[in-house]
């Protein structure tokens, strides 16, 4: 049930009951998953949306809303918004119980250097069109059919209310000697499955053979691992015949080394696997650059296996990846709804002004709303926009659990994200696709891979006839990250409205289907997002969207927070095993 915040006459609405097991402030994806999980586990849950926009920073918004959201939460403007709430609505009718101290809750900026370019305002900013856009704040992001996020939806989505579209195809663009020949770069499609290898036009026969053999080796490795100790001698023999085996020592080597030296894949295949399947960020064969992010063979293999298991998991899905129709926001929305179904209460547009702490001990007791009402709970989850006020004591938690590092990333790193609205697809006949620019393929100082995701109107990202393109890259140096994104934009789009004056000889889309004219930009934005990590305490906070393409870390963070709070409860108990069976057989889930 949703508690309606507006009540007639009687001044500010009051919320009943006033005491909960868990209060969640924020409706972003991790907050919503935790709320739904806690509600499913029988806890009393109150979920408060303090923001004018739902599901931030995992929201899907119209262009106008997106920009005003970005400004609201960006470095220059953020402070006074919430201080306003605090000062103006200073509580009048509060309970006079003086056993609590109130710690004011402050927010921090999530975004910075927001740039907006409007090329055709009439096509994008018209008010009547706004509701036809669903632009993701945390794009590009996709679901792998076999990833934990999808597992979760499959477990939870009993009514089958989520619908998805398959990502048609992915391309990997890497810096090759071709650059010298024609000045352009090759678009290699990413062959993630047996049939994709067969169909592929850009791989040589030898590469096809190598790649497929590598995939088979992986399958064998995976099967022998999953069978654990009880392998029959027969099968041992079979594997011995295929001569290659992945040894425990191999698993600890850098994946790039494993691919090039042990498997002997061509540089092209190595690039495709590293950057377009295992989604490595930093240049893997540059020891200097990738000190922080060296993909180990073990990790690489796990990611490849996830990719493989994803292909063909659902009958309706054509590739490994899915995208929710109506945008990412749907996912958070789905879990919010789930929380409500399971008995959670949610209130909207209700700023929280402070935390209530025990006067004597100084530990968390509850929250104070902008209306002055005080609500109490055992646990509190805060969205990443809030700064946990200092002076909160932590009674029962051992020091190493404090500020658990959910997403193991360099604290100085940030994500540069861009959103472009264009008039055409990169490739004819391809609606939803991913493009990976490997490090240094765009410009010499591009340190990390740039991921690009084009969506069409068939996922309701935009009105028909337009395309939405998300770009992102992780960066330590903001200037350099922005330069990479801008280079990608330049390579992919033209800004001139006529579009015909483009110099076609430098067209990057050379490979068999040549787009004569690059898509023209109608609108674009670029912003830098902080990578704020979550932490666990009596008051816990959820992380910001990470720089990855998939949701694994989001689910992981939610799961860890849930388990810390409720070590004895199951995270979404699987009550209906029959349902699993239906889905495993590919009956539903995906639409497309």
């Amino acid at each position: 049930m949703t508690y309606m915040a507006a009540e007639e006459d009687e001044g500010p609405p009051r919320i009943e009951p006033t005491s909960f097991d868990l209060i969640v402030v924020g409706t972003g994806l991790p907050e919503s998953i935790i709320a739904a999980a806690a509600a499913s586990a029988g806890k009393t849950v109150l979920q408060i949306n303090p923001d004018p926009y739902y599901h931030s920073p995992f929201a899907s918004l119209s262009p106008k809303d997106l920009i005003s959201f970005l400004h609201l939460h960006s470095a220059t403007t953020s402070d006074h918004d919430y201080t306003d709430f605090r000062t103006v609505d200073s509580p009048t009718d509060q309970t006079t119980d003086s056993s609590f101290n109130i710690l004011p809750l402050s927010t921090r900026p999530l975004y910075s250097s927001v740039e907006v370019h409007v090329y055709s305002p009439e096509k994008v900013l018209d008010d009547s069109l706004q509701k036809e856009f669903n632009l993701d704040l945390a794009g590009p992001r996709v679901l792998f059919c076999a990833d934990p996020m999808v597992d979760l939806i499959v477990d939870v989505d009993v009514q089958n209310c989520m619908s998805f579209m398959s990502v048609d195809t992915s391309y990997c663009i890497y810096d090759e000697c071709q650059k010298g020949k024609g000045g352009g770069l090759l678009w290699n499609s990413v062959p993630g499955s047996r049939n994709a290898i067969f169909r592929d036009r850009s791989l040589s026969l030898k590469e096809k053979n190598q790649l497929m053999r590598f995939f088979k080796l992986l399958q064998a490795h995976y099967h022998s691992n999953s069978k654990s100790s009880t392998t029959t001698s027969n099968e041992e023999d079979d594997e011995n015949n295929s001569s290659m085996k992945i040894t425990p020592e191999d698993l600890e080597t850098p994946f790039v080394e494993f691919l090039t030296c042990k498997i002997r894949l061509s540089p092209k295949l190595t690039s495709i696997i590293l950057y377009a399947i295992t989604m490595a960020d930093y240049e893997q064969d540059n020891v200097e650059a990738c000190k922080k992010d060296i993909v180990k063979t073990k990790v690489g293999i796990d990611r490849l296996m996830l990719y493989h298991k994803s292909v063909g998991r659902f009958r309706g899905a054509t590739g490994a990846m899915l995208y929710p129709i109506y945008g990412q926001g749907e996912l958070a929305h789905f879990f919010c709804r789930r929380a409500a179904i399971m008995g959670g209460i949610s209130i909207t547009q209700m700023p929280v002004v402070g935390l209530l702490v025990d006067k004597d001990v100084g530990n968390y007791k509850g929250v104070k709303l902008v209306t002055g009402q005080e609500l109490f709970s055992h646990h509190l989850i805060l969205a990443p926009t809030f700064v946990i006020p200092p002076g909160l004591t932590t009674p029962s938690v051992s020091p190493q659990d404090v500020y658990y590092d959910f997403v193991q990333q360099d604290a100085r790193e940030k994500v540069v994200r861009g959103i472009c609205i264009t008039d055409n697809s990169f490739k004819p006949d391809v609606a939803n696709c991913l493009v990976f620019y490997t490090p240094k393929s765009l410009c010499p100082d591009q340190m990390t891979s740039v991921r690009i995701f084009q969506l069409s109107s068939n996922v309701r990202a935009c009105p028909s006839g337009m395309f939405v393109v998300y770009l992102s890259t992780i960066c330590g140096d903001v200037v350099q990250g922005k330069r990479s994104i801008n280079a990608a934009k330049e390579a992919l789009f033209s800004t001139s409205v006529s579009g015909n004056s483009e110099d076609n000889s430098r067209d990057p889309l050379r490979e068999n289907t040549v787009v004569k004219v690059k898509p023209t930009l109608l609108w674009s934005t670029l912003y830098i997002q902080e990578l704020i990590m979550g932490g666990f305490d009596c008051v816990s906070s959820t992380p910001m969207p990470d720089g990855n393409l998939q949701y694994s870390h989001v689910v992981d963070a939610a799961l860890k927070l849930f388990q810390k709070m409720y070590p004895d409860d199951e995270f979404f108990p699987k009550k209906m095993p029959w349902w699993n069976e239906v889905v495993e057989n590919g009956a539903c889930l995906s639409e497309g």
């Binding site: 047996r194 067969f198 026969l205 096809k208 053979n209 497929m212």
Partner: protein, 693 residues
């Protein structure tokens, strides 16, 4: 649908199946009642429909429906609407039956039967098929039905070909799709449909297409099957005549070969003429093959096929030239000209018409008078021991006789085709080598061996020469040698292929052929040519390259691993054959001997005849059990009770006129058997070294 292990039914499933069985029985009883009383009421049909939905495999149920439909159609007369509604109901019943089991023969057949009446719309069929093929893309019932529907709807083959492409792109491990592709392409190529001509272009594209499958997953067989089909299409030669006896340009002394004529008594001026083709052909007769001689010769020739296949075609054809009794100039050589395919009547198994005429000529020397051929009573036993053979010094005239190959005259068009096809194969060879350099792959090796052989055939055909040393033979032999080690379950197949290639290599040219030719010590014991082809101890398992051996009269194949002598029937001049110390395990394996009417001396000692209680070849070879065409029942009566035991020996030997036979060293060769042989072969003089009379 494939590769799913069968699970033991759970208790619930077992219960359900018991309940289903009971229900089925009661409906079935009801149905039979209607069936036996020829009741075709609405109720009866509903019962039947229910039954078929539960058990689509029930053929009687479908047959009943056919009767019912016929009954109602008669009643409906020519009222289109009611006819349509009757038939639509049938389609519905089939559909629900197929939902239960889409592999039900009866249901698919019934649907075809209904559609064939031509009253129903076929629009729904492809939609239905799409559904079934989504469930199981390989389902051959659906593919079969698809071919039926597309023929009914006149869907162009090009469109269907695109469909197979789409299906293969979806999953290339689809035998049915590859198969249908080959069927469609055969038609498109034959009809030279626009875009499917020239054939070479299409083949190149197809090779490229399937190559992607082979490289992506060499362990998947479906692509290799298609590749083999393509190879077959590429290597097909349009020229047919390979060799002849007497060879082109030779000079034959007719009196040397009189003994070979079918009837010894009256005519002694006959000469066999043998034509050997690259594949089985039909339509060889006096109008398609003209034989002209300067001297008087009976031009009304009767051509006999040797060893006919199912469609009545044969690789080797035989006729006897009969010369008039009095030559005008006894010492002169007369020219005989043979022209083949003067009229387009020769048809090959591949469907080619042999439209390129071939010509050849040889000279004959006719004996001055009617010298009666007489075997004489004192003819000596042939002794196969080595010391009786000496390496020979051939006379030049004999050399001409050995070289039985026909110099081919190939028209420019064909020559170009062979060249292009040889180029295609050469490319395939390169790709195959590339694959093998990446990984060890049995089928890759086998394919490479086949490709090399095909290349050899094509490139020599394009040059118009057949007798040259081919460099690849060594590699092919190595490949088969490797395969024998790599793939023991198929050892025998590789061994057979090895033997064929080895023979090809060794018999390829005159020079190496002569290494195997020996002179028998005593030429008087043979009626004529005492040149023996000695292929002993070469561990052959099969005999091949027959087209080069048409001249052979004495053949030593002893001390090999021979199991089959298929093809030997083409050696129509053969009179002495040594098969001792081989692996022949039954008399039925000797079946080709029945066609060698000149055979006088046979040694099959030290084989395995009688060692295996079950003759696995029996049903492969001609026998009274398999087909009866040239078996005369009355022949069986002759020999009495032994017949039931030795019928297979009887079937081989009864038609032969053997003078000398060795069977010792075979488990079957006991005293009783030898007695049987003596009775069966009254003209026999030696049995196992023993002189009989």
């Amino acid at each position: 649908m494939h590769g799913r292990p069968r699970k033991a039914p759970t208790e619930e499933e077992q219960e359900a199946s018991v309940v289903k069985g009971a229900k089925l029985r009661s409906i079935q009883a009801k149905f039979f009642q209607f069936h036996h009383t020829n009741t075709y009421t609405k109720e009866a049909l509903e019962v039947n429909a229910k039954l078929l939905e539960m058990n689509p495999e029930f053929i009687t149920g479908w047959n009943y429906r056919k009767l019912a439909v016929q009954y109602h159609l008669e009643a409906a007369q020519s009222d289109e609407d009611s006819i349509k509604s009757i038939l639509d109901e049938e389609l519905k019943v089939v559909e629900s039956a197929l939902m239960t089991n889409f592999k039900s023969y009866g249901a698919w057949h019934h649907r075809k039967w209904v559609l064939n009446m031509g009253h129903s719309s076929t629009d729904r069929e492809l939609f239905l098929l799409k559904k079934f093929q989504k469930l199981d893309a390989r389902n051959f019932h659906a593919w079969n039905y698809r071919r039926f529907v597309t023929a009914l709807k006149n869907i162009p083959d090009e469109e269907e070909l695109q469909y197979t492409t789409d299906m293969i792109y979806e999953n290339f491990s689809n035998y049915s799709a590859w198969h249908n592709r080959s069927v469609l392409l055969s038609r498109l190529l034959k009809e030279e449909v626009e875009g499917y001509y020239p054939k070479e272009k299409v083949l190149t594209e197809e090779f490229e297409f399937v190559r992607n499958a082979l490289f992506t997953d060499p362990d998947d067989q479906s692509g290799w099957f298609y590749h083999l089909w393509l190879l077959d299409q590429t290597v097909k030669l349009e020229h047919l005549l390979v060799s002849s006896w007497p060879p082109n340009g030779s000079n034959v002394n007719v009196s040397d070969y009189c003994a070979l004529s079918p009837s010894l008594s009256s005519i002694s001026r006959t000469l066999p003429l043998i034509l050997c083709f690259s594949e089985a052909v039909g339509g060889i007769n006096s109008s398609t093959v003209s034989v002209v001689c300067e001297s008087n010769m009976d031009s009304n020739l009767i051509w006999t096929p040797i060893s006919v296949d199912k469609s009545g075609l044969a690789r080797t054809w035989l006729t006897y030239l009969t010369f008039s009794s009095e030559p005008m100039h006894p010492s002169r050589n007369y020219l005989v000209k043979v022209s083949i395919a003067n009229s387009e009547g020769i048809i090959s198994s591949a469907g080619f018409c042999c439209s390129n005429p071939s010509h050849m000529a040889f000279t004959v020397c006719l004996p001055s008078s009617n010298t009666e051929f007489d075997e004489g009573p004192d003819i000596e036993r042939i002794d196969w021991s080595e010391e009786n053979f000496s390496s020979n010094q051939l006379h030049s005239e004999n050399l001409g006789l050995i070289n039985s190959f026909n110099e081919l005259t190939i028209s420019g068009d064909n020559k170009k085709t062979y060249e292009t096809n040889a180029k295609i194969i050469a490319d395939e060879i390169d790709y195959c080598r590339e694959l093998l350099s990446e990984m060890d792959c049995k089928i890759g090796k086998l394919t490479l061996a086949r490709l090399l052989l095909a290349y050899d055939a094509l490139s020599s055909a394009s040059r118009g020469v057949q007798d040259q040393n081919m460099f690849q033979y060594k590699e092919i032999l190595e490949l088969y040698h490797d395969l024998m080690k790599l793939d023991p379950p198929h050892f025998q197949y590789y061994k057979d292929q090895y033997s064929l290639v080895f023979l090809k290599q060794e018999l390829a040219n005159e020079e190496s052929l002569l290494k195997y030719c020996y002179q028998y010590r005593d030429s008087t014991s043979l009626s004529n040519n005492s040149l023996c082809l000695c292929l002993r101890g070469l561990s052959l398992s099969q005999i091949g390259c027959i087209e080069r051996l048409l001249w052979v009269q004495m053949l030593d194949l002893s001390n090999n691993g021979i199991r089959s002598i298929e093809g030997l029937e083409s050696l129509q001049l053969l009179c002495c054959l040594n098969l001792s110390n081989n692996k022949i395990c039954s008399f039925s394996a000797l079946e080709p001997l029945r066609l060698l009417k000149s055979l006088k001396v046979l040694d099959i000692s030290h084989n395995e005849i009688g060692a295996h209680p079950i003759d696995t070849r029996r049903y492969l070879c001609a026998s009274p059990l398999s087909h009866t065409s040239d078996w005369k029942r009355e022949e069986f009566v002759v020999s009495g009770p032994e017949m039931t035991i030795y019928w297979d020996a009887f079937s081989i030997f009864s038609g032969l006129n053997l003078r000398q036979l060795s069977v010792t060293g075979n488990p079957i060769a006991d005293k009783k058997f030898k007695l049987f042989l003596c009775k069966l072969l009254p003209a026999m003089k030696w049995l196992d070294d023993e002189k009989l009379r």
